[in-house]
Symmetry: C2
Subunit: 504 residues, 2 copies
Amino acid sequence: METTTLPVISRSPITNKEYPLPVNADDKKGIDSFIALHPGKKVVIVQGLGFVGSVMGLVVANALTEEYAVIGIDLPSASSFWKICSINEGVFPVLASDPKISQYYQRALQKKNYYATYDNYAFSQADVIIVDINLDVKKQSSFNDDVEDYHVDLAPFKKAINSIGQNCKPDVLVLVETTVPPGTSQKIVKPLLEENLQQRGLPVAELKVGHSYERVMPGPKYIDSIQNFYRVFAGTDDKSSDAIEKFLRTVIRTDEYPLTKLGNTNATEMAKVLENSFRAMNIAFMVEWSRFAEEAGVDIYEVVNAIRMRPTHKNIMLPGLGVGGYCLTKDPLLASWAKMNLFGSEGRLHESERGVHINDKMPLYAFEYLQSQYKDPLQGKKVLLLGVSYLNDVGDTRYTPVEGFYDCLETERAEIALHDPHVLYWEEKDVWVNRDLQELLQTDYDFIIITTGHKEYRNNAELIARLLQKPAAFIYDTIGVLTNEEIKALAAKHTVKVIGRGDL
Amino acid sequence: METTTLPVISRSPITNKEYPLPVNADDKKGIDSFIALHPGKKVVIVQGLGFVGSVMGLVVANALTEEYAVIGIDLPSASSFWKICSINEGVFPVLASDPKISQYYQRALQKKNYYATYDNYAFSQADVIIVDINLDVKKQSSFNDDVEDYHVDLAPFKKAINSIGQNCKPDVLVLVETTVPPGTSQKIVKPLLEENLQQRGLPVAELKVGHSYERVMPGPKYIDSIQNFYRVFAGTDDKSSDAIEKFLRTVIRTDEYPLTKLGNTNATEMAKVLENSFRAMNIAFMVEWSRFAEEAGVDIYEVVNAIRMRPTHKNIMLPGLGVGGYCLTKDPLLASWAKMNLFGSEGRLHESERGVHINDKMPLYAFEYLQSQYKDPLQGKKVLLLGVSYLNDVGDTRYTPVEGFYDCLETERAEIALHDPHVLYWEEKDVWVNRDLQELLQTDYDFIIITTGHKEYRNNAELIARLLQKPAAFIYDTIGVLTNEEIKALAAKHTVKVIGRGDL
């Protein structure tokens, strides 16, 4: 799908509707008439309409103790413009199993207090600006072979901050929610905004900047993971932290989930990446143990469940195909980068980088294990992958570990069919995904491989019965979804292998 | 204290009483008359009277649904013989803050059902033998410089198993509680016992062998950590696992804490070392983050406490002086050794070995940080160390990280005074410890260093006031015991440094 010309349309993967990209970025009229609908209300802008920003906008539009006029802003690009149009046309741009998403969106539609735009003019009208844009890490090699060879490009982030500084009021509150390298609010965001204000001949004394990270979990508790959960925040100075606290109290159930105020924004920024690094490390730690279990004839799932009986060990992780999603795959690297580049340290965060490295290699291991168990070439073999999302019961393919595994199969020229109950279209690979398992199972496969732990594949007696009617295949559970009884039943006909389970 | 002659006495560190070592190992008369007191009762032997075995003996002597005659057995050596004598003389050989220890011991004294001996003849009388001896790992270099250079010596463990096999009944149940390299029960204990029985012309068909690990926490819940806690077990065959289950149900509150039965003893052995490796890794992971916090002017304790608000992140660890105790310092190495030596794997458990390596180096880092902050030579400086135990509020100096730190100070020829409310005598260093902080504080020190997080050093306004009366000193909190308010107060007079806290 490479093209040398710029895209001119943006297509909604939800409605399939196509939107021509705007030729100029002028939406002043739209913004002004939206604001005119809400006299006396504070204007809150959410910058970035992705998995966090679009839903954060919903939450602010349904604030608890104050009525806000909410504007979501994103770039008029092929990947974002449809979201802007969709919000304004009455179709929320995120599919989620949480029923509150649609409740909140319907309420916002009734109140007409959630507008979306691409025009930076909006910033000039804002009392509060919440920054929810991405800040990416680019890994240079496939499967992150060189643990130290990654690149943090702050340019798009800085550009977004500049677009605020070039337009905002001098007393605006800019609240960064993006996961950033520790030090960013203090050393990058605040100076950039001040520089812009000074260039515009405006005072900087009343500017307020701080950081508070979300802990969004897309899925059945999407809204609650923002509104009904613990929050950590800090300002770059006292007036900023006071303003943030006041704002968050209007939006979040702070009575049940008290706010945690930290000493400075370096601390909140570090807390976020440390949280995710901790989880990434706990997964990486399990990788070598699941190999050991295979060698020792031990069922690692049984072992981990026994260990989880201890309250202090409840969060020990299970093995699997790999680690995906937007956070765990990059946050430790953001931290290590910041240590060296924003604080001038000579030492990297070696262990945290290694954790990412180990996790990134997991799909490769899963593939090599398959090859070690099935010696014939894979060329032309029919393979069914069950699940492309990185997370159980959610349709999110960002940095899914299934991608690396899929790439390996493609390189060997296997014929791959894809199933996922939550994914229609796999954006990163530009392929369609079938949601109808019954239909897929009319074909015979050489390999049936469970690659995501969706509930459709768990304790599904019908699925097991159906598989037992199929010709002998190689069934490979990379997640540990199959029970010992199911494995025993399937093994009567098929070859069955499970990562982390010694042959039972 | 090196000597070329064998020791002839064993001294109790509790009563200071000295016991001449027995010239031969004959205690048949004592054993027989003890058993004669308990006709019809099953005889349970606990092999090894250390921190686990001596208290496990107490728990079995106070079993819930059956009356046992319990014999503790250990070697007639300088370090163990006094424990044998002490148990028989009415002084329990373990000091602990748990009041149940003394209640249980008093009950056993009244029932006269807990006897101790050094004579292997006892094994011939046993229905159940619980193995609670040590299995050590020797690290070859100071601070574990070479991560792969350690040595697992199974000889003493095998010798102890042989002493059982040479004496036991052919239908005995041998329950290993020792933390062993995964594979040990199946590949070492069972074959050794069978070999011995065969050499004695006895059948092996009724021998029962299995593994169930304790999760003892010396401290205020010592007994409960054995009797009122989740247990994992497996037998080397079905009759063994049935026998173990039946026995454990008589001893442990399995109604409240259901037993977890695993598929084989490799799995239970792996579960134990994995539990401890998980914890060791979580500590090691925090090491580099506490350095980063220092560089970024962040208080890592504040950050970690914010993260702990998440139920999934409750067990993220705080930084400190290092990792001590008998388990976390060696269990990951036992596992890696077993992977290579009992299962013939080519790969080590690299990450788990690295975790131990990082933790072992922590006291060295703490010392280097001290040197970096205090440039003058330490020779002749007066240093007070607050705490020598490895664990808060417990007197346990086994593999305490204070030792490495103490060694560094000694190498620099500092003058060291030691305080610990729970330690009278530091066995590994052969030095006495002062339990009277008031008395110690009559001296002036150049350095006052908090090395264990005992509650005596926490929120102790009197201690802070007393320190403020002293001449200016370098106060160094390696644990994070001091609050920000205390640091601020102390900093008015002293230099105050805390590991993991950027200067506040």
